[in-house]
């Protein structure tokens, strides 16, 4: 009996699965696809800043560490799923998956078209509530804030691909139906796992830092490093399973720790030493789950670098170890990466069988390098300054770490204190910038301007902060001059020219607004931003109908524009239409649920409606998000005053003044007498 000829799909699949190329080329293909996605995502989605960030270091970590590791972890989990469902050879599934992964290139292109040039913010799911809402993902008429349309297309294609592949391999309907369910589960888990891990300390009773701070800051300066560590851990777990199934010899080699003990021990001692050294200044080090993952991953990386032998054949084992180690070392930090590269060179240049002095010297060097690498996990760029406990370098670094965590946590008074102490030891531009930002957040524009002007080589953030401080004190010509000089120096010209247009609009200067807007268009300002700034101009000049029309056009281009909704809300507010204003602020809140200014506006509307309970709720929520805003306490004081609780009102006004001594409304309010009961 003749077997039926395979269909065209089977033949295509077979040609993909049997395509003959080495492991390294397959890996390069996967990395190429991921990098294309990342580069175009940075250009088209979110803030549309090419490279994701104006800072090369941040951008580098996002494009070459965080996001690739995210997709590689996905790849491995999908690989395992398909293996368990089909029983096919891992190498054949991997080849198909690499081709299938091309769907990840689609979202930036789909989104830029659907959003009419604005792109979407692609974020991780923040909590279980968002996770549960994700099941509405398959409703094609609903615009979900948790995902973009491109992501939906990408995920639907991935799920469809899973069904197709499993069915073609097994002809089993149950398994074919299980494949997309498991795939979607993996996608959801990956979408929420970073924020879920960051919530662990809070669930165990640690509330000094928010989960957002833990995932953003911690020991690292760049948030993507924390994310990278999580995905490295997931890669390790999935990778071990895969190797245990398909490459037992490599698995045995990787899990045999003994040859590395003489280097793992000094690395562990280095980590402990760093931990002890930083603990007095960064006492919260034990409370972050990411630090434990970091230690685990860093020690395993030392082991992998030690056993990675470029002369081993087949070379696949070496490539696996080398690739993991390279990604891991880069994620942990440049000093760690440099030290491990040195370790690798010394390890592979020495002659292990020689019994001469050079071999002993090489072993001693390896022990020393391992120790330093361990220490660098904690002290990062300050490793060589702090490793010998003379001077105050450890304190200098530790206080900056603590200051940075307070800063991210919006505890600006505490952050200011830490940065000041670090400045007393040794000042640098980074510390000056953060001190200036703390002052500005606390409403103290005078000291902010003073210290920001001392920065010798101001970077993008320093310029932005100083200009903000000028703007808040009404020094508009200085603000514009600062932005113009930055633009002349080619520092984010698009950003700064748009900022000037925004300032001009908010000051009602029609001619200059349009002049700057015209130049901003040449720099690629998104259409919605163009109309939103026009709306701000009309609003400022009291032309409310024109303002509303402009905001509507902005929202036509970007239905998720928080600034356009807020502008439209303010427009209604000034016209006295509080109900519609409230509706617009509520709409804005859907896309920016942590926007304290929106809660303040909603509170102000409730206050005008004399709904004090609701107003109290909004202002309290606003303060919970940003506790350092004088306006929030002042508004709560107004409620207390309106409900006849004048002593509480005065206490709240004083609290507002404690945050910002220059806050005039609170000073005026305090002049009223307090009645004793």
């Amino acid at each position: 009996m003749k077997t039926p000829a395979p269909g065209i799909l089977t033949r295509i699949l077979n040609s993909i699965e049997t395509d003959n190329y080495p492991f390294l080329i397959g890996g390069a293909g996967l990395f190429a696809i991921i990098t294309v996605r990342n580069i175009f995502e940075s250009a088209f989605e979110g803030s549309q800043v090419f490279g994701f960030s104006v800072y090369a270091s941040r951008s580098f970590y996002m494009i070459f560490s965080h996001y690739p590791l995210f997709y590689i972890a996905f790849f491995l989990c999908f690989l395992l799923t398909l293996y368990f469902l089909t029983g096919e050879k891992m190498s054949r599934i991997a080849r198909t998956l690499i081709v299938g992964m091309t769907v990840i290139i689609l979202p930036p292109f789909i989104d830029i078209i659907i959003s009419r040039g604005s792109g979407y913010d692609l974020k991780y799911l923040r909590n279980i509530q968002e996770l549960s809402r994700s099941f509405r993902f398959f409703n094609p008429v609903q615009d979900l804030t948790q995902s973009s349309w491109g992501q939906r297309a990408e995920i639907v294609l991935a799920l469809g691909g899973a069904v197709f592949y499993v069915f073609l391999k097994t002809r089993n309907l149950l398994k074919s139906a299980a494949a997309p369910v498991i795939f979607f589960g993996i996608i959801l888990i990956f979408g929420i796992i970073p924020n879920l891990a960051a919530r662990i300390p809070a669930d165990l009773g640690f509330h000094r830092f928010s989960p957002n701070t833990l995932i953003t800051a911690g020991l690292f300066k760049i948030d993507s490093q924390n994310y990278s560590i999580i995905f490295l851990f997931l890669i390790l777990v999935a990778g071990f399973f895969i190797l245990k199934i398909s490459r037992k010899n490599i698995f045995s080699q990787m899990t045999f720790i003994k040859p590395s003990l003489s280097y793992l021990a000094p690395a562990a001692v280095g980590i402990i030493y760093g931990w002890v050294m930083i603990r007095p200044y960064w006492p919260y080090i034990p409370y972050s789950p990411f630090n434990y993952l970091l230690i685990l991953v860093s020690l395993l990386t030392v082991h992998f670098v030690n056993i990675a032998d470029p002369r081993s054949r087949p070379a696949e084992g070496f490539f696996i170890l080398a690739l993991f180690s390279a990604f891991s070392a880069i994620a942990i930090g440049p000093v760690y990466a440099g030290l491990l590269a040195l370790f690798f060179l010394v390890r592979n240049c020495r002659k292990p069988d020689a019994r001469d002095i050079s071999n002993h010297a090489a072993r001693a060097a390896l022990v020393l390098i391992s120790f330093c690498a361990g220490f660098s996990v904690i002290f990062q760029n300050a490793t060589f300054a702090a490793i010998i406990p003379t001077g105050r370098s450890a304190e200098h670094h530790g206080r900056q770490v603590l200051g940075w965590n307070y800063f991210i946590n919006r505890d600006f008074p505490d952050a200011l204190e830490q940065y000041r102490q670090a400045q007393n030891i040794r000042a640098n531009d980074e510390i000056r910038k953060r001190i200036g930002q703390c002052y500005l957040h606390l409403g103290q524009t005078g000291p902010a301007i003073k210290i920001l002007k001392d920065i010798k080589r101001p970077d993008y953030e320093a310029i932005l902060t100083l200009a903000d401080a000028y703007s808040q004190t009404g020094r508009i010509p200085e603000t514009v001059r600062l932005y113009d000089s930055a633009r002349e120096a080619n520092i984010e010209p698009a950003e700064f020219i748009t900022a000037v247009a925004q300032i001009m609009a908010r000051h009602g200067d029609r001619e200059k607004t349009f002049s700057y807007l015209a130049r901003a268009v040449a720099y690629g300002i998104p259409r919605f931003k163009y109309y939103q700034i026009q709306g701000d101009l009309y609003y400022q000049n009291g032309d409310f109908n024109a303002a509303r029309a402009a905001y509507d056009r902005a929202l036509g281009y970007n239905p998720r524009s928080v600034t356009a909704y807020a502008g439209k809300g303010m427009n209604y507010y000034r016209q006295g239409d509080l109900t519609r204003a409230e509706g617009e602020f509520m709409s804005a809140l859907r896309f920016s649920p942590d926007n304290f200014a929106l809660y303040n506006n909603l509170g102000a509307i409730s206050l005008l409606k004399k709904d004090y309970a609701a107003a109290q709720g909004y202002f309290t929520r606003s303060l919970a998000i940003n506790p350092t805003q004088a306006e929030g306490y002042y508004n709560l004081g107004l409620i207390a005053e309106n409900t006849g609780d004048l002593p509480r009102a005065h206490a709240l006004y004083q609290k507002a003044l404690a945050i910002n001594p220059d806050f005039l409304p609170a000073t005026e309010a305090l002049k009223k007498p307090v009645k004793d009961d």
Binding site: I16, D19, N20, Y21, I25, G26, A28, G29, A32, I33, T35, V36, I39, F40, A43, F44, Q48, V49, F50, G51, V54, A56, S59, F60, I63, R95, I98, V99, T102, G117, N490, E492, P493, A494, E495, F514, A518, R519, V521, A522, Y523, G524, P526
Partner: protein, 288 residues
């Protein structure tokens, strides 16, 4: 090294290298005029070097994976003629890749990202697991996109923050559409090798004779499209005759790639003069 230069000078490679540098120069020209800034000589020179080296590394990658096709068509490359071993040729590729990225990195991180993107697209085009050159018309779309990318990298010297979104659409079309129509002619010489290696091209899809005619028509259309896209009808005076001559060279046997390139360069020279006289032709007017 001298051996490598000798191989490099063989065939159409200097022309193709120039072909990639033209869009970069156009990108610089657009950036310079749009933002009214001075010509940044050093960054521009480094960017040209980066594009050049990046293209060289792509050629090496292509030669490595096209070794079978090149052997069929008797195309002389350092590999098919035995001048280089695969390994040493690959090392040269890595050196060029690194040189391109270093030169781009010296201009700026974002310039390096664009150059890297170009290298990645060439990798996806030439090498497995994707080897997109096997899929017509995706192969031509990728080559035309590569030229647009070369223009964007020149433009990004002036506008690094949103180069993909702010690059004028008209200029992008002006590069992309004519190249999409015309680049098929490069597959004509590889017809036999492509057929044996299962690489689909205009000629393997339509057959050699029909393919030649369609290719000639498309090359003519690519010339005719230039004045249409630029919205400048006087340019037809130059574009139509050049299109016809190019069409003739595409049909003439034996086919000589070099002749088509020479006509193309004549158009480029005319456009260079025209753009300098009337920059508004290629620039998108800024709305007020």
């Amino acid at each position: 090294m001298i051996k490598l230069i000798r191989f490099w000078l063989y065939g159409s490679r200097p022309f193709i290298a120039l072909h990639y540098l033209f869009p970069t120069a156009l990108g610089v020209f657009i950036g310079y005029h749009t933002f009214n800034k001075p010509v940044y000589f050093l960054p521009c020179a480094l960017t040209f070097l980066a594009v050049f080296f990046s293209f060289q590394s792509s050629i090496i990658l292509n030669d490595i994976y096209d070794i079978k096709t090149d052997a069929y068509t008797r195309r002389a490359t350092p590999l098919t003629s035995g001048g280089y071993s695969r390994r040493s040729y690959l090392i040269w590729g890595a050196v060029f890749l690194a040189a391109g990225l270093i030169a781009a990195g010296a201009v700026g991180y974002r310039i390096m990202l664009i150059i890297l993107l170009g290298n990645i697209l060439h990798f996806l085009y030439s090498a497995p697991p994707f080897r997109l050159k096997k899929f017509f018309p995706l192969s031509v779309i990728m080559l035309a996109s590569g030229a647009v990318l070369a223009a964007i990298v020149g433009y990004a010297i002036y506008e690094p923050a949103r180069p993909f979104l702010s690059f004028p659409g008209k200029a992008a079309l002006f590069i992309f559409i004519p190249l999409l129509f015309s680049l098929n002619f490069r597959d004509l010489a590889d017809y036999e090798g492509d057929r044996r290696d299962n690489v689909s091209s205009l000629f393997t899809v339509l057959g050699l004779n029909t393919g030649r005619i369609v290719n000639a028509v498309m090359v003519f259309l690519s010339y005719a499209a230039v004045p249409v896209i630029l919205g400048y009808p006087p340019l037809f005076i130059a574009a139509l005759p050049l299109g016809l001559i190019s069409c003739y060279f595409c049909l003439k046997k034996p086919f000589r790639e070099r002749n088509v390139f020479i006509i193309y360069f004549i158009l480029v020279v005319i456009l260079t003069v025209l753009f300098n006289l009337k920059p508004g032709i290629v620039l998108t007017p800024v709305p007020r």
